[in-house]
């Protein structure tokens, strides 16, 4: 199958990588990636609808989610970082377990996000 050419850099949206940590009531509890992704998507859809979600360009890379440490990264556009922050703040539970999504910081590249927020 023929591959599409990538979008020219001038037409691409600027990306931001939002690093987060899930704080739960119990320390030993873990959350699988699927559940975390679902809860993030549901929060975004509930707050901003399908049109808003389209502008966010939401993606949770699976290789950057650490289930044990409950730390991960969300990709969004530079204009929608505050929308993602708000959506994460409205999440109160995953699988019946009460949680808080704490945003550790925002980075322009994956490399920097990993180095700065996911080192230990």
């Amino acid at each position: 199958m023929a591959k599409l050419n990538p979008l020219p850099p001038t037409l691409r949206e600027k990306e931001r990588w939002v690093a987060f940590r899930i704080i739960a009531e119990r320390d030993d509890v873990t959350f699988p990636l699927e559940k975390v992704v679902n809860s993030v998507w549901n929060a975004c859809m509930n707050n901003f609808g399908s049109v808003g979600c389209a502008s966010i360009m939401l993606w949770v890379p699976s290789n950057l989610y650490d289930e044990k440490k409950r730390v991960g990264v969300i990709r969004c556009t530079s204009r929608t970082v505050e929308m993602v922050r708000f959506a994460l703040a409205t999440i109160t539970e995953i699988e019946g377990e009460k949680v808080v999504f704490h945003v550790l910081g925002v980075s322009g590249t994956i490399k920097r996000a990993k180095k700065k927020f996911m080192k230990d």
Binding site: I23, E25, N46, N47, E82, M83, R85, F86, L88, A89, T90, T92, K98, V99, V100, H102, V103
Partner: protein, 262 residues
């Protein structure tokens, strides 16, 4: 560096302080203070609903006990939350508690209560003027009064978390209207978590994002959780200055520098 404040943390819940078990309050408060340190909050306003003045001392002792175990960098203030059903009751309760706590919070809802709170010289914060209403609970007259009497208008994040999607959109609409009024007439708008347990607390930037999604500029949204609360606390401390007789008259000791405010 910007400092973040959360001025309405309620470890005893919405109910009266006396109704709760003191051990339960202490446990809740200490876990809330450790959560505040985790979330990067620099100052916490712990608010209790007192029914008697004798409870204030007990609450202060509890706060000191929990503070000694918490992060030493975290600053704490104690406030009294007043839930009144009439103007007379509100004024009586404010007079009773005004000098015993660091700041006075009035829970809004009724228009008459909101209006009296905005024009009372000893009220520091009006919390959720839109609570239980179909409108925002404030008009331009109240916003002007709040600016004149230095009363902060606060909205809590907890009411959003408790609401369903339809009610949440109404609350957001009311908060947006109150922000517009406060910004226009110079009253200080403050965002608080209103948390009754540690998992209802949110970090400063998450609270500010609420204003950002409503269309407020980023720097103004951040001021709602950093500069405005700090200003409110300073004004509250100034009101409770023991050398202040009435606004405009202050006892100045020989050799003390004039700061020009009193």
């Amino acid at each position: 560096m910007r400092r973040f404040f959360d001025l309405a943390v309620m470890p005893a819940g919405d109910g009266a302080f006396a109704e709760k078990d003191s051990e339960q309050i202490i446990n809740n408060l200490s876990s809330m203070l450790s959560m505040a340190s985790k979330l990067g909050i620099d100052g916490v306003g712990v608010v209790f609903n007192f029914s008697r003045t004798s409870e204030v001392k007990k609450a202060r002792k509890m706060l000191e006990e929990c503070k000694s175990n918490a992060n030493p960098a975290l600053k704490c203030w104690m406030g009294a939350c007043i839930q009144a059903s009439s103007e007379k009751e509100l004024k009586r309760n404010v007079d009773k508690l005004k000098k015993r706590v660091d700041f006075v919070v009035v829970k809004g809802g009724e228009v008459t209560i909101n209006r009296v709170a905005c024009s009372h010289p000893w009220v520091d914060l009006l919390l959720d003027p839109h609570a239980g209403r179909k409108d925002s609970g404030m008009d331009h007259v109240m916003a002007k009064l709040a600016a004149e009497f230095n009363v902060g208008i606060a909205s809590s994040f907890k009411c959003l978390l408790d609401a369903g999607s339809k009610k949440m959109s109404h609350i957001l609409q009311h908060i947006k209207r109150n922000i517009i009024l406060c910004e226009k007439y110079g009253a200080s708008f403050i965002l608080v978590s209103g948390a009754t347990n540690p998992l209802e607390m949110r970090d400063g930037r998450a609270l500010a994002s609420l204003a950002s999604v409503l269309g407020v500029r980023q720097d103004r949204a951040l001021a709602f959780v950093s500069e405005n609360p700090e200003k409110m606390l300073k004004a509250a401390a100034w009101r409770r200055n023991p050398s202040l007789i009435i606004p405009g008259v202050k006892i100045v000791k020989r050799g003390e520098k004039k700061n020009g405010k009193a």
